[in-house]
Symmetry: C2
C-alpha cells in the first residue's frame, strides 16, 4: 500500500485511519455474520443496534439533553436550508439570519423562497474578515428562529461564542465544526451538520432538534423532509444510508477513545495555533481573518506572490500534502484541519511551507 497521505480536503474530508481500518477489516463480514453491514436490513436487530449505539455515543460526546431528538437524514446541509423554513417558519412569520459568508448566504437564499427573511447582521461590512458582535445585530423578538453558521468553511471564519437569542430558537449550521470542541447544546433549538467533515462519509446529515419544535411542518413539506416524521420513526421512515450511519458510529467511538470533544478541543487548539503563528510570523504567507474570528477548522492563506501558487501546490502534492487549493470561488490556499487530521500533518505542512518560502523568497 502507498503511504497514507496528509489530506487537507475541505470535504469529503480525511477520516481517522483506525476507523477506515476497522471498516476495511469487516467490509465483507460484519461480526461474523457472513454479510457486510451494507447488506443488512436497516430493521435487523444488528443494524438497529449499530444505529442506536451511534446515537448514544453522539449523545455522550455532546452531552445532548434528553429533550432533544437526534436525527440521521440525507441531502446534506443544502437540503436543510429548505427543511428548516418548511418545518419552523409559518407562512405569515419571519426568521432572522446572520450572514457570515458563502454558506450562510446560501441558507438565506433558500429560506427566502419560503418566507420573510431578515438578515439581522452581516459580516459584509468587514469584507467577511470579521464577525459582527451581537451588539450590532438587529434581532426581531417575534422571529420564528435565528439561524447562523458556526464555521464558514470557505471564508475561514468561526464563532467562538454562542449568540443570545432569548426565547427565539437558535438554529446552527455546524457542518464544519461539530464535534471539534465542546458546545452547550441546550442553548440551541436545532443544530445540524453534513457528515463529510467531522462525522463520516458524505450522504448523511445529523440533526439535533429540541422536541417542542417538532410537529409544525407546513402542509406542503414533503414527508421525508418533516423532522417529526424522522423523529417518530427513529430516522427510519424509509431506508437510511446505513453504511454512512455505521461509519459515523465508528468515528464517534474513535472520538471517545481520543478523549471526546474535550480531547479534540485541546488537539485542535494546538493545531490551529501552530499554523496561524507560523503564517503570522511570515511575510510570505498571509491570513486575512481577524484573530477573534479565525476558524480552527479551515485556514485559508495566500502567498505574497500569487504567481507561486501553482508551484506551491505542486510541491505539496509531491510531499503527499493533498488538497491545499482554496475553494474554486475564492482561490488561494486552504488547509482544512478537521478532527481526523493529525498534528503530524500540520507539522509536515509547516515544514513544507518553511522550505518553500526559503527556496522562493
Amino acid at each position: 500500500m502507498t503511504k497514507r497521505a496528509y489530506n487537507f480536503c475541505a470535504g469529503p474530508a480525511a477520516l481517522p485511519e483506525a476507523v477506515l481500518q476497522q471498516a476495511q477489516k469487516e467490509l465483507l463480514d460484519w461480526q461474523s455474520k457472513g454479510v457486510s453491514i451494507m447488506e443488512m436490513s436497516h430493521r435487523s436487530d444488528e443494524f438497529v443496534g449499530v444505529a442506536n449505539q451511534a446515537e448514544q455515543d453522539l449523545r455522550d460526546l455532546l452531552s445532548i439533553p434528553e429533550h432533544y431528538k437526534v436525527l440521521f437524514m440525507q441531502g446534506g446541509a443544502s437540503q436543510q436550508f429548505a427543511q428548516i423554513p418548511l418545518n419552523f417558519l409559518p407562512e405569515s412569520s419571519s426568521a432572522d439570519y446572520i450572514d457570515t459568508g458563502i454558506w450562510s448566504r446560501k441558507s438565506i437564499d433558500e429560506a427566502r423562497r419560503y418566507g420573510n427573511i431578515n438578515v439581522a447582521a452581516s459580516a459584509k461590512k468587514y469584507d467577511y474578515f470579521s464577525i459582527p458582535g451581537q451588539n450590532e445585530w438587529q434581532l426581531n423578538k417575534q422571529a420564528a428562529y435565528v439561524h447562523y453558521t458556526t464555521n464558514e468553511t470557505i471564508g475561514g471564519l468561526q464563532f467562538d461564542w454562542i449568540p443570545e437569542s432569548g426565547d427565539v430558537p437558535l438554529v446552527a449550521d455546524m457542518s464544519s465544526d461539530i464535534l471539534s470542541r465542546p458546545v452547550d447544546v441546550s442553548r440551541f433549538g436545532m443544530i445540524y451538520a453534513g457528515a463529510q467533515k467531522n462525522i463520516g462519509p458524505s450522504g448523511l446529515v445529523v440533526a439535533i432538534v429540541r422536541e417542542d419544535l417538532l410537529g409544525k411542518a407546513r402542509a406542503s413539506c414533503p414527508t421525508m423532509l418533516d423532522y417529526k416524521v424522522a423523529a417518530d420513526n427513529g430516522s427510519m421512515y424509509n431506508t437510511p444510508p446505513t453504511f454512512s450511519w455505521y461509519l459515523s458510529g465508528l468515528v464517534f467511538k474513535w472520538l471517545k477513545e481520543q478523549g471526546g470533544v474535550e480531547g479534540m478541543a485541546k488537539l485542535n487548539f494546538e493545531k490551529q495555533r501552530l499554523l496561524y503563528e507560523y503564517i503570522d510570523k511570515s511575510d510570505f504567507y498571509t491570513n486575512p481573518i481577524s484573530k477573534s474570528a479565525r476558524s480552527w477548522m479551515n485556514i485559508p492563506f495566500r502567498l505574497a506572490d500569487a504567481r507561486l501558487e501553482q508551484a506551491f501546490l505542486a510541491g505539496a502534492q509531491e510531499r503527499a500534502l493533498l488538497n491545499l487549493q482554496g475553494h474554486r470561488s475564492v482561490g488561494g490556499m486552504r488547509a482544512s484541519i478537521y478532527n481526523a487530521v493529525p498534528m503530524a500533518a500540520v507539522e509536515a505542512l509547516i515544514d513544507y511551507m518553511r522550505a518553500f518560502e526559503k527556496e522562493k523568497a
Copy 2:
C-alpha cells in the same frame, strides 16, 4: 473470515462479492493516491472520473438515449414520491397512478398531498395477487403523467409488460427490478430506483429523466429536489454521496462483466423458474401470485402450517440462508433474489426447503 452467507434480504440487499472485495482492497488507498475514495473532494478530477464512468456504464447497460439525463440523488424512492409531483404536476392538473401494492400506494398517498391523483387501475380487486390488464385501466389523456411501480417488493408482483401511455409521460418506480433485465428506456418519461437492491448501498437514488420534462418544478420545490438543478450541476449541486456512487459504479462494471442486463435476465429467469417450480410442485409451500404477475426479484411464500414458520427461519439461519422472513406488514417468508444473489443461493434454499418439508410434512 466466516464463510459468506447467502443473503435473501429485500434491501439493503446482497452486493456482488467481487465488488465488495475491490472496495475492501482500496478502502484506505484508492489507486495509490494515499487516501480513501471517501476522503476525496467530489470536485476532484479523480472523483469526477469515477462519477462519469459510473454514469456511462449505466447508460451502456440500459442503452439510455442521449436525450435522457441520469441523476444521482439522495433520499430514496420515498423522497421521489414527493419530488415527482413537485417537478411534474402543475397545481391545476392531475396525474394517473396505478395501484399494485404497498409501494405504489405509498407513492399515491404522498402525491395526493400535491394535487389531484386519479387511481387509474388497482390490483385490489384481485386481492393484489394479479395486475389489472391495460384494458381495465381508466387513463386520462390530460394527465400530467402516469406513475406505476414495476415490481412490488413486498407483494411480489412484477409487470412483465410496459404500459402504453400515448403522449402522457410514463414514470416508473423500478427500485427493486432495475438492471435485472433489459428495458426500453425510450418508452418512459422517467425511471427511478433506490440503490439498495440492484445498484449499490442505501442512501443513493438513481433517476433517468427525459430532458424535455425538466425545468417545470413548482416555485415551492426545494432547490435540492428540483431535477433541473441536479441535471444542470451533474448531480453535484452539493456534495453527493460519493462512496455510494463509487460503489454503484463498481456494480455497473461487474454487471458488464456478467454479460450486462441480457446476462442478468438469463440468470434471473433461471433463478425464479427453479424456485417457483419447486414451490408449485409442493403442497407444503405456496405462492399466491398469478403466474403472469410473479416477480423475478421477490418471491413471497407461505408454509401450509404457519406454526412452522419460526422453525423454518431458525433452520435457514443455521445453514447461513439469511433474511427469509417476509415483510413485517405481511408476514410469511420472502426470498429476494436480486442480481447479486447467485444461482447457488437459490439451489441451497431449495435444498433446505426440501429437507425441511421432508422432516416436518
